[in-house]
Symmetry: C2
Subunit: 177 residues, 2 copies
Amino acid sequence: MKKRIAVDMDEVIADVYTKYLDIYEAKYGRRPAKEEYWGKKMKLLPGAEVLRPNLFEKGFFRDLPIMENSQEVLRELHERFDIYIVTAAMEFRSSFEDKYDWLQEHFPFLHWRNFVFCGDKSIIKTDWLIDDHVHNLETFTGTPIVFTASHNIAEERFDRVDNWLEVREYFKDIKSE
Amino acid sequence: MKKRIAVDMDEVIADVYTKYLDIYEAKYGRRPAKEEYWGKKMKLLPGAEVLRPNLFEKGFFRDLPIMENSQEVLRELHERFDIYIVTAAMEFRSSFEDKYDWLQEHFPFLHWRNFVFCGDKSIIKTDWLIDDHVHNLETFTGTPIVFTASHNIAEERFDRVDNWLEVREYFKDIKSE
């Protein structure tokens, strides 16, 4: 049986931060510099209370930018491993159709059988989980891989990748069965 | 840690067959008797081609009847075990919001963290899975329990429950940790 990689969606293949910065700039007329939010949660940015309510709006997750190189690298990995997209969508009822359509548009080589919308990821059984949220990695029983995001840069317990080229490199010599 | 029970939705807590029979009766003016479909797939019933397209319609999953005693028994089990509702919703894009609303209406004691919409259930890691579909039970790594439905009555490889009173009985003396 092929080995299995679970891949988180937001901040791993879908770029929420860039959309947050767009919304912030549209509201306040200036784009925060990376040093204003990097290394902490974006909600600590002054004025950031305008951001989170957008997560509950229809359409928010439909036009998120794609994380650089995620399509090419997942297409390659998909040939050797079983890839599951595992996203904690359940918090946001309005996100389900948007996330589904976004995945089908940008990752058409993945079958819907391999999409998982959940809440608590501790019931997911795959060989790896690539995720930016430490609480998901802490309860994972396979090999957790932290995908670098602003809020997790101090985390040192897990293997780390900064971007999708590093994901490619990570799996380069790993046997798929 | 509490032990975990994954519970399928359609034909386990949500009664699709009764709605199918309603649709059939509305179309053809007569309600099929149980002996016409029991023991086989309902799609083999003459005229059954009118049924399946309904699965893709908005609203189909929103007003399904609740399987008898499933609320009371799940409420009891929820106090001793962690319950996850795991449904292969991904085939039906239009079902996501309906299934979510149905669960929140009829099983308000379950948190959305414990809902899972997926395709392939083989990546679910819980201690038990109660499901009517044999293909889900075959790949499950915990203890599979077949919930009796028309299409699975010949199956003999798994523990079997016919209804929710039998589920209560099954777990009565099982330790929850």
